[in-house]
């Protein structure tokens, strides 16, 4: 099977799957604790439980998407949104 025909931008996909998917899944755990409409224990534990599913989903998506830019945009957006939510939650906590 010819890899070059099957995948475009293989190196970028490797990088996204191995690194960006991990960063995104971790940042999402942090951010999800700010908006889940649940009690505190559930707010913290549910994202932890979802981590393996999120990571596996992002990892596979990094490879099977048609264009390499699609998973990149999705992961960066998720990172930014959850990062900003975490930042505001931290600032509120300090204030």
């Amino acid at each position: 099977m010819n890899n070059k025909k099957t995948f475009s931008a293989t190196k970028r996909r490797h990088l996204m799957a191995c690194l960006l998917a991990l960063v995104t899944a971790t940042v999402m755990i942090t951010g999800m604790t700010t908006y889940l409409p649940l009690q505190m224990s559930e707010q913290i534990l549910l994202p932890i439980l979802l981590f393996p599913i999120i990571w596996v989903g992002l990892f596979i998506y990094a490879y099977i998407s048609e264009k390499a830019s699609q998973p990149f945009l999705v992961m960066i957006t998720l990172c930014l949104v959850h990062g900003i939510l975490s930042y505001f939650a931290l600032m509120q906590g300090q204030g």
Partner: protein
């Protein structure tokens, strides 16, 4: 599904499998052995646990009172009584903790007294930092393998992160495998063992993968959680809610809050508490008891139980007078569905929720999980040696095979070596001094066998030699134990020891059968028949 997507999933499945194959075999194989480590193999390895005995509750209560009176006041904050069940401790251990140190230590410190379960004679004492006590407890062959499975003896967090990520990659391999092998029903029942080696390996890979898919998903998920929870997941979750303070997060969810000491003397009724727990859950095992504010009017006692009707371990809460207050999960009273799932992740991973039958099933599925990456790797390598323009030369193929046999077969051999060594150590070396031997024996046996791979040109003979050595080491357990062991097959003092020795013999004979079946003549004949 589009054919290009299937192609991508197939490639992804191959890449993940090839990169993680050897490590996944190592973790899965040791995990399969670790299922039986506690308490079965731990009892086999420790003579003090081998005779079925029940320590009278009143004796435990007397020991707690006697030794509490002997330790300085600050050591009475928390008293732990660890029962000699083979789950954690091989002796009855009384541990008196001082969380804030004492005149000699500015850290958590403890005084421990360990007693023989049969005679209740004092065997060991310890005074020093808590971490050192728990880290240097006497280990045994099976526990060593179990600990290796958890963090590869690389320490924490590196080892935990590595095994956690292997759980994640197992999930990826299983999910992608299910997509690319879509003819699930047909492949569930297709195993052509007489159609040649390559076809047998390919069918075996699919059969093991599909039959074991749910198990692999459960193990991958729970393994990822257990590996990454304390090093990545909890700190990340605590980042916003607790300003990154993981200890505060754990403290918030802790099952055992500190009681307020009243300084009113009132004897803590440990005897009644233990008796009540045994009556309530007659089929469960009491692993340990935590006594807080001992002999104070506000004393609280928590018992940790495993087994019985409950799937997960449970915590029973009593007050000092012996009144039952409540039963809860080992994480305490936390509301919600997530904690229920986390609770059952542990027994699902360890296979210790429904007796020996489920444990043996977990061992078989664990071994199948270990063989999956190996069979996949062999298919991947064989594919590259075939066709008009093979990408892998015969020499490179042989080198790969030698590396796999050296690393994976070497690990199996190193595990097999530990069991006769355990019998020898029980005879010749006292107590916790055993700990110094397992690491060197295990890693040197593995390393030596891996180094030999570089020099042994004929990989088929190298594989046969691995089988033969594994067979010899396992078969030697029964005669060694018969001669050197206090409890053995001949005197049948302990059913578990006799059963375990015979099991080692049977597994050893299975290795020997494999050795004889892979004779060069037999392989050549099978290849001719297949052709």
């Amino acid at each position: 599904m589009k054919s290009i997507t299937l192609k991508k999933l197939f490639l992804l499945h191959s890449w993940v499998g090839v990169v993680t194959a050897v490590l996944l075999f190592i973790v899965a194989f040791t995990g399969a052995l670790a299922v039986l480590a506690r308490p079965e193999l731990k009892i086999w390895a420790n003579q003090s646990l081998q005779q079925t005995q029940h320590i009278p509750n009143s004796e435990i209560s007397t020991l707690v009172n006697t030794y509490h009176a002997q330790v300085p006041k600050e050591f009475g904050e928390n008293i732990h009584v660890f029962m000699p069940t083979g789950h954690n401790f091989h002796l009855l251990a009384l541990v008196f903790e001082s969380h804030h140190g004492d005149e000699n230590y500015q850290q958590e410190v403890l005084r421990a007294f360990e007693f023989d379960p049969a005679s209740l004679a004092l065997v060991n004492t310890y005074y020093g930092p808590s971490k050192q006590y728990y880290a240097n407890r006497k280990t045994d062959a099976a526990s060593y393998i179990g600990e290796f499975h958890a963090d590869l003896h690389l320490g924490r967090p590196i080892g935990l992160i590595l095994t956690g990520f292997l759980g994640l990659t197992l999930l990826v391999s299983t999910v992608t495998g299910l997509f690319i092998h879509r003819k699930l029903i047909k492949e569930l029942f297709t195993f052509r063992w007489h159609k040649g080696f390559d076809v047998t390996i390919s069918d075996g890979h699919k059969v093991m993968g599909i039959w074991g898919s749910i198990f692999n998903i459960v193990i991958g998920f729970s393994g990822a959680f257990l590996g990454l929870a304390t090093v990545i997941l909890l700190p990340a979750a605590a980042f916003v809610s607790f300003g990154g303070d993981q200890d505060k997060l754990i403290e918030t969810f802790t099952a055992i809050p500190e009681p307020i000491i009243s300084y009113v003397n009132q004897p803590t009724n440990i005897t009644a508490i233990l008796s009540d727990a045994q009556q309530r859950y007659p089929h469960a095992v009491i692993l340990d008891a935590t006594v807080m504010a001992h002999n104070d009017a506000n004393a609280q006692v928590y018992l940790r139980l495993l087994g019985g009707e409950a799937v997960a371990s449970q915590l029973l809460h009593y007050n000092g007078q012996g009144e039952y207050i409540t039963s809860m999960s080992s994480f305490g009273h936390i509301a919600g569905v997530s904690i229920k799932i986390i609770e059952i992740l542990f027994p699902l991973h360890f296979g210790n929720f429904a007796g020996l039958f489920v444990k043996l099933l977990w061992v078989m599925l664990g071994l199948a999980c270990a063989l999956m990456p190996l069979s996949g790797m062999m298919m991947w390598l064989a594919k590259r040696t075939r066709g008009s323009t093979p990408t892998l030369s015969a020499d490179a193929y042989a080198r790969w095979n030698r590396f796999i046999i050296g690393s994976c077969g070497g690990l199996v051999l190193a595990c097999c070596v530990l069991f006769p060594v355990q019998v020898l150590l029980n005879y010749a070396v006292a107590g916790a001094e055993h700990n110094a031997y397992f690491g060197p024996v295990f890693f040197y046996a593995w390393l030596v066998w891996l180094v030999i791979a570089a020099f042994w040109q004929n990989y088929k003979n190298y594989f046969r030699a691995t089988l033969l050595l594994c067979a010899l080491f396992l078969i030697s357990v029964l005669p060694f134990n018969s001669v050197l062991g206090v409890n053995n097959v001949i005197n049948a003092n302990s059913t578990l020891v006799a059963f375990t020795d015979i099991s080692f013999l049977i597994v050893g004979l299975a290795f020997l059968w494999g050795y004889l079946k892979t004779k060069p003549d037999a392989i050549a004949l099978a290849e001719v028949k297949a052709a």
